[in-house]
């Protein structure tokens, strides 16, 4: 009996995440995911799109197209970073602990890009947030399967 209970509890207590794409049940927020350079002391729904209206500019820095917007009277400069090929941004939601399966995160919305905003500076390739995206290329190089051609091309003899 103990064995049976343990088996099921291991499965039930397992933390999981449901990743979903191309589904009517999931909202596409591409172009509407913004990283703001300030703490907003609030967490929850609000009418962002009525007040936060990014505009594109003619400016380009380090190959990044600069956008501008205003938040609480301050001018922000931002740039939209496309996610690497084969990746998506998943906005996950966890239900209240009272509901069943509290350790499961569900995909509620997805995005193909992220817009990063600076207050004082225009965006640059040296911004920490922009550089954080270098990890995807590094990780790919580190972990992708090595083919026979790769070995041949790196062979020094």
């Amino acid at each position: 009996m103990d064995g049976g209970d343990e088996g099921s509890s291991v499965t039930a207590s397992h933390k999981t995440v449901e990743l979903i794409r191309d589904s009517a049940a999931v909202v596409d927020l591409t172009g509407k995911v913004h990283q703001l350079p300030c703490c907003i002391k609030y967490d929850g729904p609000t009418s962002v799109s009525d007040y936060f209206k990014p505009k594109s500019t003619d400016m380009e820095v380090d190959g990044l197209k600069v956008e501008e917007a205003h938040f609480r009277g301050r001018k922000l400069h931002g740039t939209t970073i496309a996610l690497p090929e084969g990746y998506s941004g998943f906005i996950l939601g966890k239900k209240s602990p009272e509901e069943k399966n509290p350790d499961c995160w569900e995909t509620r919305a997805t995005s193909r890009n992220v817009t990063v905003w600076n207050h004082d500076d225009v965006p640059s390739k040296d911004d920490a947030f922009v550089r954080a995206f270098h990890w995807f290329a590094v990780s790919k190089t580190l972990h992708q399967t090595v083919t026979a051609e790769d070995l041949e091309s790196t062979c020094i003899d």
């Binding site: 999931v26 703490c39 609030y42 967490d43 998943f90 906005i91």
Partner: protein, 129 residues
């Protein structure tokens, strides 16, 4: 229905696209980090082991459409940018095999007949690989 209905907490995770449309369940596994040996959270989805990283700045918040998410503030908020990227399982398994090999050597010296039992490891998450 708005996407945040019934949701208590939100997170943002950049992860590989699932191979097909529809629901793909990823399992969070606790495995030993190959360098430190500490228990580290990995994600196993679509038959691919992925490592989790996060990035945050001192001050930040998210707009997810018509939703605000604070990066770190209220106890239940966590707006760090999480990423999941594929990791070669060899990195995870090598230290475990290495340790098992040393054990076998010791066992064979003391109890030659028990040498074959080393394979029974107690790490249930490792078995899923």
């Amino acid at each position: 229905m708005a996407w945040w209905e019934g949701v208590d907490e939100t997170r943002i995770l950049i992860a590989p696209d699932p191979s097909t449309s529809g629901k793909h369940v990823g399992h969070f596994l606790s495995l030993r980090h190959p360098k430190t040996g500490n228990t580290t959270c990995y994600l196993y989805c679509d038959g691919v082991l992925q490592e989790l990283h996060w990035f945050k700045q001192s001050y930040g918040s998210w707009f997810f459409g018509d939703y605000v998410c604070e990066v770190l503030g209220l106890p239940h908020t966590d707006g760090r940018l999480y990423t999941a990227t594929p990791v070669d399982p060899v990195f995870i398994l090598l230290p475990i095999f290495e340790e098992a090999r040393m054990k076998v050597r010791q066992l064979k010296q003391t109890l030659p007949t028990l040498g074959n039992n080393y394979a029974a490891r107690d790490e249930k998450d490792t078995r899923m690989l």
